[in-house]
């Protein structure tokens, strides 16, 4: 497959601080890649390096099979959308869209054609004569996308484009960006700290931490087979339950409880490893009521706290001394102090080495 963006052995350091370390990443044509991580993980820095807004300390960046490591941002064939929109406030929307093109000495009819196309795609035609101050947040963000669109490039870079919007608008624009991607089939690299955005938009997600990519994979993989405990904990809300114990003879032993590991797919070794380990199970993978009978592992707990959210009810309890949460249907009626029987299938759980925290 032809790659759109390739990052090879990328290093970046400011003085003694290493921000990115020996980073390698290949992004296919038309792929929607999300860089996800908490603040300070290097995701925006990486995006700025791809854009050419930051000089790298080592390694190469290729865009469309061209080595652009030393190229100016405007010569890299990218368009970029910023968190703060970064529109030119004293120019009309049309001026914002055309400023870069005029500067590149494009012929007038071509500029007009591109602006027309972009404003149709983004439905901002009625706004062309207005100034950014007269636009709503959502409209400004569309204009910002339009500014990337008129550049007629293959790679779009988004730097947390929705973080400045309120929750409702964020959800709407998220859908719109997805629709735009379907329509344009451009390569898109999208930085966010919001896992919902990442899960809904991405073809692949790269989870970053400490200047490195922890895991690169489809949303399904990231959610279902987190590569280590950090990723497991980071993805999913409410977050995963962790139980500490030992693996012995194909069972996970935790005090008096023992969980059979039949059906769990071990990684590299393909067989059960022995020793201290952490088991992770998502609250939504724990079942209650009649379904419990069909699960390989069952346990009785007492309800400590309930958090109804409308669609779901989160139940807090304790399993072998560990804080444990279960996601139940919003209709279920449970009360604090009630006894509850839980069950789950180890096949849906994740096991991590207690020391290295890597997936087993």
């Amino acid at each position: 497959m032809q790659n759109s963006v390739e990052i090879k052995n990328l290093d970046l350091q400011f003085g003694a601080v290493k921000v990115l370390q020996n980073l390698n990443l290949e992004i296919g044509k038309g792929e929607f890649l999300v860089l996800l991580g908490s603040s300070g993980c290097g995701k925006s820095t990486l995006l700025n390096c791809i854009a050419g807004l930051l000089d790298v300390s080592g390694g190469q960046i290729h865009i469309n099979d061209r080595n652009v490591t030393w190229a100016e941002p405007s010569d890299r064939g990218i368009g970029m959308v910023f968190q703060s929109y970064a529109l030119y406030p004293q120019m009309t929307v049309e001026g914002n869209l055309s400023f870069g093109l005029k500067n590149a000495k494009l012929p007038k009819p071509e500029i007009a054609k591109r602006i027309k196309h972009a404003s149709e795609v983004l439905q901002i035609e009625p706004l062309l004569k207005r100034k950014p101050a007269a636009l709503s947040g959502g409209q400004r963000q569309r204009v910002a996308i339009g500014r990337a669109l008129v550049r007629d490039v293959d790679v779009f870079l988004f730097d947390e484009p929705l973080s400045n919007l309120d929750a409702k608008l964020r959800a709407d624009l998220r859908v719109e960006i997805k629709r735009l991607h379907h329509k344009l089939q451009n390569t898109m690299i999208y930085v966010t700290h919001d896992q919902i955005e990442a899960m809904t938009l991405a073809d692949r997600i790269a989870i970053m931490r400490g200047g490195q990519i922890m895991q690169l994979g489809s949303p399904d993989e990231i959610y279902g087979q987190p590569i280590n405990k950090y990723v497991a904990d980071f993805i999913g809300s409410p977050s995963m339950n962790f139980l500490e114990g030992n693996i012995k003879n194909g069972t996970f032993e935790m005090g008096e409880l023992s969980i059979p590991l039949d059906g769990y797919e071990f990684g590299d070794t393909g067989a059960a490893t022995e020793g201290a380990a952490t088991m992770g199970i998502r609250p939504e993978h724990v079942v209650t009521g009649e379904l419990v009978e069909s699960t390989p592992f069952q346990v009785d707990v007492e309800v400590n706290l309930i958090e109804p959210t409308g669609s779901d009810t989160l139940v807090d309890c304790e399993v072998a001394g560990h804080h444990f949460r279960v996601r139940m249907d919003g209709q279920s009626r449970v009360s604090v102090g009630e006894k509850l029987r839980l069950g789950f299938a180890p096949a849906r759980a994740s096991l991590f080495d207690a020391k290295t925290e890597l997936r087993l």
Partner: protein, 297 residues
């Protein structure tokens, strides 16, 4: 605030007490003093103020006095040159310093220190620097350029430009700091966007950044202009108004009339003219800046 409370006057009484100095200053000194001066500018007060109306006599006399006319002309030359140069120099310096340079703090410190000095000190230093017998002129002549002449403070035609040098030396640091604060306040993403768009730096400054800094420019303009109108100490220290009366300015005219010539009426009329000048600048600015804000937000 509820209007049904019985003792309105004593509501929030501590706050009102605390504001008494402000109210007294605002009403008695600023408003009262200004009105008093304007009123007395229509009298023939001499050594002491007296309410003997003479209509516009003082103003007619004022505009027929050569010293006043020269003062106004000097203020116009000094003001215009000062304004243009201080903005150009201040902005260019700020833009240069904003290029992520090394030793930024040192350079900024050096450029701003004259602003910390008294106008008297500034005036005297530049009186010395521009002294033809000892200063720059002598040094350049010493290098072999025997005919070099640079003695602005000693030739009436250009003396005001000698003052201008000192004024710029002292004042451009302030403009630089204000402009730099303005530049630093600009969203860095806008710079990034313009780089992605391939806009050369100088073009980005002219078409994007400077328009975005309009409020800073306007505020700086008002500060600089009010400072220019007030110019007094610098002249007194550097030239004393001379040679002859070639570097007289309105503020000095006022002082001389009030406290040296015992001609209070002239002083009041001249200071009223200064007030009018400032008002012509400040009032439109205030209307633009604060009157329009309701529509913008």
């Amino acid at each position: 605030m509820s209007s049904t409370r019985p003792n309105q006057l004593f509501r929030n009484i501590s706050s009102k007490i605390a504001a008494i100095p402000m109210i007294v200053t605002a009403l008695f000194v600023f408003v009262g003093g200004t009105i008093w001066t304007v009123v007395y500018s229509f009298t023939n007060s001499g050594l002491l103020p007296r309410l003997q109306w003479v209509g516009l006599d003082q103003y007619e006399r004022l505009w027929a006095t050569r010293k006043w006319l020269i003062s106004i002309e000097n203020l116009a030359i000094y003001g215009l040159c000062m304004l243009v140069l201080v903005f150009v120099i201040g902005f260019i310096l700020a833009a240069l310093i904003d290029q992520k340079i090394r030793f930024e703090d040192t350079i900024r410190t050096v450029i701003l220190y004259p602003y910390a000095l008294s106008f008297v000190v500034t005036g005297l230093v530049w009186q010395w620097m521009l002294n033809p017998e000892f200063g720059v002129q002598k040094v350049v002549r010493g290098w072999g350029w025997e005919s070099f002449t640079f003695d602005p403070l000693y030739s009436a035609d250009i003396a005001i430009y000698g003052v201008l040098i000192a004024g710029i030396w002292q004042g451009s640091g302030l403009v630089m700091v204000l402009m730099l604060a303005g530049l630093r306040g600009i969203d860095q993403d806008v710079w990034k966007a313009s780089r992605v768009d391939g806009i050369p730096t100088w073009k980005a400054y002219i078409f994007v950044i400077i328009p975005m800094m309009r409020p800073v420019f306007v505020t700086t303009l008002v500060i600089v202009v009010t400072g220019i109108v007030k110019i007094y100490d610098l002249i007194v220290a550097q030239t004393g108004g001379g040679p002859g009366i070639s570097t007289e300015v309105p503020a000095k005219y006022v002082y001389d009339m009030m406290f040296q010539a015992n001609n209070l009426g002239q002083g009041f009329a001249a200071s009223t003219m200064m007030l009018v000048t400032v008002a012509l600048i400040v009032i439109p600015w205030a209307i633009l800046e604060f009157g329009g804000s309701k529509h913008r937000d």
